[in-house]
């Protein structure tokens, strides 16, 4: 089973609450602004992500989703939509 962790870059307000709750310190705040003017969170170290969904649980903006993907090849497993 593999999972797709996506941060909706333009839905993120960069509050940083996901960053502090991540048990694996995967997330950081980007230096690049999104279309709303916020600096969104991104997965700085996606390879450490254990898909525990702590970040999703904490995010006040439902900007982080994790979906299950078919386990064919190497599914893109990180923040394609962000600038990470």
């Amino acid at each position: 089973m593999s999972y797709l962790h996506v941060i909706d870059k333009d839905g993120c307000k960069g509050c940083g609450l996901c960053v502090i709750v991540c048990p694996k310190k995967v997330l950081e705040i980007s230096e690049q602004v999104n279309t709303k003017g916020y600096f969104p969170a991104y997965q700085a170290r996606p390879e450490d992500c254990i898909h525990c969904a702590m970040c999703c649980t904490m995010c006040p903006d439902v900007a982080i989703t994790i979906t299950e993907v078919a386990e064919e090849k190497d599914a893109p497993e990180s923040t394609e939509e962000t600038d990470g």
């Binding site: 509050c15 502090i20 709303k36 525990c52 649980t57 995010c59 006040p60 903006d61």
Partner: protein, 247 residues
């Protein structure tokens, strides 16, 4: 062990107007998840308050209406009395519920109205610009208590859950928070329980949330979480104040 996580159907695909780090968004999501899980979206009516959540109806995908400041419990009473088959909840902040609407919430709870109230307590008026609320902490600075809340002048903050729990009418009264994931998971269970009591026509149900307001508190979102945990939680203890089974 991985988990999936997606936006609930009851939540609209909208970016909220809330400030970064505002926990309204988390509480909204919990309500939406519970409504999805209980399969009640088609018969739920939300009553939005006056306050920061005044536009919350934009963020849900079921019937909604506004209330005027503090009157949501009276409005929900009217809705629920004439259509007991609907699932009705009010969503109110501390200025709305604990100040201007204190009479309405106390009487609705005391009548045992079969609706659910979500009470978001962040110790300050958000919408009108950071004024002192009935729940503002002693010494806390606000735009109308620039030298800090003076207890000798305006009394101690009101603990609404304890106050409502003192009513003899059976009810479900609990205080929760969403400051950290561990609290959030517990809070969701409480919200679900509250709606379940309504569905079973058991009692009035009330979930208070100790929440944050980074913008009006003048703190970063992360600092605000810390402040709420350190300053508010000792005064506003979490847990069930009352269940209908006790009565």
């Amino acid at each position: 062990m991985g988990k999936t996580f997606q936006k609930p159907e009851a939540l609209a695909d909208q970016v909220t107007h809330y400030c970064p780090g505002c926990t309204h968004g988390v509480i909204h999501r919990l309500i939406a998840e519970v409504i999805d899980e209980l399969g009640i979206r088609g018969r739920t009516v939300g009553v939005a308050p006056v306050g920061c959540a005044v536009l919350m109806y934009n963020y849900f995908t079921f019937d909604f209406m506004e209330a005027s400041h503090g009157r949501a419990p009276a409005q929900a009473t009217g809705l629920k009395r004439v259509r007991p088959d609907l699932v009705v909840f009010t969503y109110q902040g501390d200025g709305d519920l604990a100040s201007i609407g204190m009479a309405e919430i106390v009487h609705a709870a005391n009548r045992g109205e079969k609706f659910t109230t979500i009470f978001v307590n962040n110790a300050v008026y958000g919408m009108t610009g950071g004024q002192m609320a009935p729940t503002t902490m002693p010494g806390q600075r606000t735009t109308t208590s620039p030298f800090g809340r003076k207890v000798e002048e305006v009394g101690m903050p009101i603990r609404v859950s304890e106050l409502l729990a003192s009513l003899a009418t059976p009810g479900y009264i609990t205080r929760q928070t969403v400051l950290k994931p561990k609290y959030i998971n517990r809070a969701k269970k409480a919200v679900k329980k509250a709606f379940q009591y309504q569905l079973d026509n058991t009692c009035f149900s009330f979930v208070e949330f100790v929440s944050t307001c980074p913008t009006n508190w003048g703190l970063t979102p992360v600092e605000a979480i810390k402040w709420a945990e350190e300053k508010m939680l000792p005064y506003y203890p979490l847990g069930e104040m009352k269940t209908p089974e006790e009565a």
